[in-house]
Symmetry: C2
Subunit: 202 residues, 2 copies
Amino acid sequence: MSPSKSRTDALMAGDELSSAAQRERRKRIVDATIALASKGGFDAVQMRAVADRADVALGTLYRYFPSKVHLLVSSLAVELERAQEKMDRTTVPGDSPYERVLFVLGRITRGLQRNPHLTEAMTRAFTFADASAGAEIDRVSLLMESMFTKAMSDDAPTEEQKAIARVIGDVWLSNLVAWVTRRATATDVANRLELTVRLLLK
Amino acid sequence: MSPSKSRTDALMAGDELSSAAQRERRKRIVDATIALASKGGFDAVQMRAVADRADVALGTLYRYFPSKVHLLVSSLAVELERAQEKMDRTTVPGDSPYERVLFVLGRITRGLQRNPHLTEAMTRAFTFADASAGAEIDRVSLLMESMFTKAMSDDAPTEEQKAIARVIGDVWLSNLVAWVTRRATATDVANRLELTVRLLLK
DNA sequence: GCCGGAAATAGAACACGTTCTATAAACTTC
DNA sequence: GAAGTTTATAGAACGTGTTCTATTTCCGGC
């Protein structure tokens, strides 16, 4: 089914690229993706345009990322990691898990809403991903989960906390999608998230 | 943006087609869609193949459903309505909302899992839909919400119950997608749903 | 029955994701 | 530093969703 799997996976993992030139190419590709997505959303991330902008050949792009969905989900992971790092450098205010989770949620949500096109591109790729992008999806899911468990407590999360974090993640994503597709306003999203977290943590 | 909107909407609404021939065409199209999706999932629902199988021209197909996503989401609505009707004829067992919701959830989930390809096609279309399919999406969302609120109580749902139903719907969909993309087993899904409903209703 | 406009048809055409081919450049290893 | 291998390049080619065109069929009002 996928003859060159191991090589491709190695390239996708990203941390372990043989040469500096390759790490650079990869970065240029992700940057181009984010730039195009920020400007025009999912549809504007056209593989030929990404290749052009990143100054690589189309074939090279496909060697690094086996599909548009992989590309966008990997970029989402990159963005979430950035957000996570920023969050780690912040002291999250609030006395209860409820307050702290809401703070984190609000912060990230507003961050994403500041760049609607990018958010649209990434959430659509994320939810459209098929089995072949399972690894990337799991990576993002774990990032999200840990984001919320960290907000609940500094200690290692309990199973229940993980479950709560997953539920919050699901609701969060679904509301982000609703916002992106104009079926919900930013206020709707904030209200629903607040309500959800209340149901789960109060 | 969409010059022929009103006409298209009329056709899409489906209940109000001018002639019997048109209602028939529409039904043939949805049937063909479901048949193809059942056999090979999202990718097998090719517009030319749907048109062929429904015995309509490609242009006609597009007159009735402006995109593949509209087509699949409308089919999902049809299927959910069927499930809802079946459920309405059933007396849902269980003394608490918790038990009753779990029953409904388990029933529908197993129903969908009996036809994995169809489920894959529909959930992917649903989550990939963009703003232009907002109406269809809302229709399906409402169906889902009412499914769960009905399980909670026979009376008109409170705001809190609606909120809970929405959260359950979000988690349900997300787990269905995880199952469809092989990131979760049927058991995983059942466990997570149970856990979620417990958190919300116990 | 006939006419005019709407709807349906067959099929070409186009756009973009993806794959393939042939060639060139960049590396490894000796 | 030359030979062989891997990686990158340019661009053609292909598949499928979507749109367009020209023609034909259908349907409601006369």
